[in-house]
Every structure is written in structure tokens, then in C-alpha cells.
Point group: C2
Chain length 272, copies 2
Amino acid sequence: MIKPKVSYFGDVGSFSEEASLKFFGDALFIPCKRFRDVFTNVQSGVCDFGVIPVENSLEGSVGEIYDLLREFEVMVYGEIQLRISHCLIALPEVRLGDIRYVYSHPQALAQCSKFLSTLNVDLIPYHSTSSAIKLIKEKALRDSAAIGSLRAAELYGMNVLAREIEDNLNNFTRFLIISMRDHEPTGRDKTSIIFGLPHVPGSLHAALEVFAVRGINLTKIESRPNKERAWEYIFFIDFEGHRLDSNCSEALDLLRKKLPYMKVLGSYPRAT
Amino acid sequence: MIKPKVSYFGDVGSFSEEASLKFFGDALFIPCKRFRDVFTNVQSGVCDFGVIPVENSLEGSVGEIYDLLREFEVMVYGEIQLRISHCLIALPEVRLGDIRYVYSHPQALAQCSKFLSTLNVDLIPYHSTSSAIKLIKEKALRDSAAIGSLRAAELYGMNVLAREIEDNLNNFTRFLIISMRDHEPTGRDKTSIIFGLPHVPGSLHAALEVFAVRGINLTKIESRPNKERAWEYIFFIDFEGHRLDSNCSEALDLLRKKLPYMKVLGSYPRAT
């Protein structure tokens, strides 16, 4: 059997890599430095799938991912969630008292703010959790630590000074699996769409009516700027059901008629 | 007359300082390093007003601000918008060809990605646009530039290597003025509220109905994670009208009865 080719965001040791391994098991994995590269690899056919973080249960949505879903012709094939647990990571033999600087992705620094406020350290925002660990290892920074996953600490042969340092243990990230096609119905599905609204009061209410009268449950609504005109928005909605289910397909047909712009991103099995 | 005390986010030279000057003219200004400090200063009475960025017309909302509006007992007293134009800023006598590193806030780096991709430089995320300029000045980094405002470049006595380097000139940031009270009606107002929804399909549609049947125009809807339970949301809505206008006040009374949680953040004159 030919292994699928999967692009994911971040370095080896990133949470996206962990999500990719959990979803695909065995595959040919290609790490990407930018979200955009994951989308490009999928759209151009270099890869069969892409894995990108779309939402964190504490920090909210990753706005750029929504913009890229609008821009590219890819579809959503699946979703997976990961419990995010952060560690304070340093070179072997470095002790907590030696640490003066802590490097990590701004979101990881924010998620550990209570623990970090008990240390007397400067926080330094960095590209990603895994690149922060790599920096400390490669530059042999003995006065610095990084925040990242246990798995990344082990992969880079680094020492864990503290575990589960996040403020709120209710910390999950949801990743999307993108591809050039979506998933066949499974009976436990979700559908993601994007739409724009006409400029009249009550237009969002009128759009949501097609779901409400059919008892279709919305699991998420997200608004993003319409970059062409300031203070106008594009909406992203996730709802339960597959686009091929009769009630969902009716709702989508009605929306297409009502709205100036509507695009189905795809239907896929709900993450458990 | 006693000058009002105004806390704003960022350093001297930040866009928030510029917004504060534009809104208040003469006041006693107190820069704050963290969004949270602005809220604390207002709630504790240290300051009369606070100024914080809430939304950019390209990048979208500042999620943390919404969470702080929920957490603190402050109200929204006003809003103001600022055209955001970025410059590439370096030490005097440094030339474009000398630049190997560009420091700035991740959002500013993202907003200038097209221009930056024409240079052969490494991008380094930093706390704020103004702190990036300060870093280059204080450490005398001759191989580095920062991205920030023309005003900040002048304030720090730095040289501007390129102007209007943002990808999209349709780049505005909206700032909120927070206080312990909101604004009296002016006839051209806006109201901001927060609410939670009951767990039934159609609940968002039912909530928006109170606005739709009264022809009240929503200018924004934003969802944020309910941090107590993963994948549940709190909604933030802005609509036209003052909470004391009869149609708005009726709509708000109905919402209070329908919803498990609702809080009026305040009514204030719409920015022009």
C-alpha cells in the first residue's frame, strides 16, 4: 500500500506533528514552516493531506487558518483534537534557578502565565514551541528554558524542569485535516461552510433560520474580516450532519439562494 | 479643569498612544505593558479611562480583549479608529542592503509580508512595534530594522527606510475606550453586549430574533471560548442604537429573560 503524503504545520516535535501521527498513524510526513505552505502543498498535489491547528479551547480560533480556507480550493476531510500540556524545558543539568529567559510561541507563553509569574524571568516570544526548544539546544543557552510538549523535550534530548504548567487543564487544540475532497458520510458527521451576508438588518438571523427550522445544531460560528472593505465580515459555520444528508442539503440549497456568497468547505466525521 | 487619567496599551510611540491622543487630546497618559494592566487601572480607579485595540480590519479581533471585557466590571465608553501604516525603521545611516533581521509584533510582520518577502531577511517576532524600535536603538543593531509607525520612528530619532509597506492599504484598527460608566445617548450610538446560549439547536437564531424583528442592525458578532468547558462559546455583539433607546431597551429586556447569561458592556457614540 502506498503511504499518504501529509504536510503539517511546524517542526518535528510540534503539536501538529503529534496530531498528524494520531490521525494517520503511518504516513510520509512533511513539516511546513508556514500555514500557507500546508495549503499550497495540498492544492498543488504535492501532498494528499494537510494538518493545521484551527482552534484552541482557551485561546480561540486561529484567524489566519480561516482566511486560508477561504482563499484556497481545499476541502475539510477530518478533524482531531489533542490535549495540550506544556512543560518547561532546558538543557540537561540546567536547574530552575538558572533560568532568566523563557522562549516560546506567544500562545504557549500566555497559556502558562500563572506559572511563569512565579519565576523571575523575561518572556521571549518565538516562532513555535519546537523552534524555541531547538534554539536553546543549538545555541546552548544555559540561562534559558522553552515551553513545549513532553514529546518535543524527549525528541530533542532535553530536560523537563516542570510539567503541566498550563493555567487551565481544560486545554485542547482542534486540528483540521485538509485535502482536495471531503469525507463520505459516516452517520456522525459535521459540515463546515463559509458565507457572506447582504447589507440589511436581520440578514444573519435570516441565514441561521435555514438551520433552526430543521433542528440542525450549530457547533461553531466564527466571523472574519472581509479584507476588501473595513468592518464587513465573512462567516464560518460548523454544524452537525453531512452535506449529503437530506435536511442539511436542503438547508445548503436555500442558503445558496439567499446569500451573495456561500462555499461548502466539506463534511467529515466529528472528533470524539 | 482636572485632566483625565488615561491608561493605554503599549509604549510611547504605540498605535494605542496615538489613538489616545486623538480621542482625548490633553490628558495624563499612563502606558501599560499588558492589556490586563489597562483594565486593572480603570477598575481600581487609578485611571478614569483605558484605551485598548479591539479589532483590526485585516487581522480580525484581539481575542484577549474580549476575555478581559467579560472578566472585568468596566464599561465601554467610546471607540475610535486609526489608519495603520507601517514603516521599515532603522538606525540613522543604516541602508536597506545592510538589513538581515526585521523585528516587530507578529501582526505587523504579517501585515507587511509581501514587502518583507522581497528582502532577504529573517523575521523576528517581538512584543510590540515600539519595543522593537527601542531594542534596535538601545542595542545599536546595525544589521536590523523594525516595523512601526512613522510617529514612533520620529519619537525615537530613527531613520525611515520605507513607508506604507503594508500589503493592504485598507488597514484600520478599532480601539475601545473603557471606563467605569458608559456614554449618554447622542443619537448616533452603538451598544456592545456579551451573552451565553442555552444548549439547544436554534438558540443563536432565537437570540438574534429580538434584534431582527425590531430592525436593529448588528455591526459585529464575535464568538469566544467559554473557558470552563471546551468547545462552548460566549458571544459578543455590537449593534446600532443606545441601550436607553426604546427599541434597544426592549430587545435587551427580552434577551435577559431568554438567555442564561447576558451583560451590557455599554453604549457609546459610533466612530466615524
